[in-house]
Symmetry: C4
Subunit: 133 residues, 4 copies
């Protein structure tokens, strides 16, 4: 799934639309912040030679979506976004089911990871997000 | 994988058929319900502008499939379904191998997550489901 | 990715070739067998109306592949195969890196899951396998 | 996604470009080395009949990428590469966000796994990497 060519003519890697199905921010944490703070992350890579203008929309069970949450990922850079750190236009509530759609101006790669440290020993889960376009 | 256009002409996101290979509901739990109750979840997102009529079929090792289990996900909404909460037409047994095929009237996105709290410290696993059509 | 039609003319779900990259059977276990025994599983679903003749080949770091390991999954049935239970033509060694290619006569769906109970509290990981053909 | 045919005319399995979004090497470990040492692994399978010349590029949040890190995977062999074991041309720092793009001369399969043993009880996560070309 090479995704066209960039301004330099080089083939670009990734997809422009991604979706994360299982969003849920554990409401409590055990251990030192920030590394053991419970979190849900959208780990984004822009391996291409143009900046990625990214807009995230957050979907809920019982209300209209929130967002867009905007971030710019420079060319050839990584941006691991903890969903619980988003503030603008509004925080994502903890302990509530949500999902995310991520749209980018150039192809990127997205992986979804959760660290759950509600208990003394932390748990991890991760998956490639769904490349949707 | 944009999946055609909806009634408004907007491109739709997702797939109409999804499969989960590894279903298994841990038969015991440790900690407060419902958040620490062991569960297998099909986390579904309908990011599109039409309601999704979803039918889940559950497959087993040694008997014919159960279902369909039906749920409607409104436009632009999330539905995280714990498989152990299904009752109609019949409960999914705990501690038994199963798999799931999910069919939707409009494209959706599905992620499969298990929380296993049989022991004092919980374990998590998650994966994008398989987009099958 | 509907995979052609079966003998009944119904569209089939899945893929005929799958690969698992990260095979590793934890060499020790804590807790009651078999549910807490450390294992690596290939969780296979045959949602179609014909039996699936499955052949698994196991690849290693430093020797030629082992197999084929053969199993038949009846129509509309699940088969969750612990790799550590394979005996014919030879066991898969514990504590050694391996990978698996799974070929099936009809489309199936494969998810890879590991339960690691070397320590007192178990850890889980899971991913959809790679649909390779 | 069969990926063309090899020199013998046999269909090849896998993809030539893969991406891992969520790289992060836990900076501490609990338990005996090497099996309980915290690590991030790129688990690669070359199921084909030609050697795979692999080049890994590591991307960061705040600097230009590192690499290429080169490895050869013989025909029909597995190579599970711990990212924390890379030394040439430079180590990958622990406790820092990164991502990886893997390019191979012939198709391979890549799965990303992390073992986090910072605490007394280890946590695991795994996902198929993103097949990008």
């Amino acid at each position: 799934m090479t995704a066209g060519t960039g301004r330099t003519g080089a083939a670009m890697i990734g997809a422009r639309i991604w979706a994360i199905g299982d969003g849920w921010i554990p409401p409590t944490s055990t251990g030192p912040a920030p590394e053991m703070t419970s979190h849900d992350s959208a780990c984004m890579l822009n391996p291409n030679d143009e900046p990625a203008e990214v807009a995230m929309t957050v979907y809920f069970r019982d209300r209209e979506p929130a967002g867009p949450y905007r971030v710019t990922i420079p060319a050839r850079r990584v941006h691991h976004q903890r969903l619980n750190d988003l503030r603008d236009p509004e925080p994502v509530p903890c302990g509530a089911d949500y999902s995310v759609v991520i749209r980018s101006s150039v192809p990127i790669v997205v992986q979804h990871t959760r660290l759950d440290s509600r208990q003394a020993e932390n748990a991890l889960m991760s998956t490639i997000a769904f490349p949707a376009g």
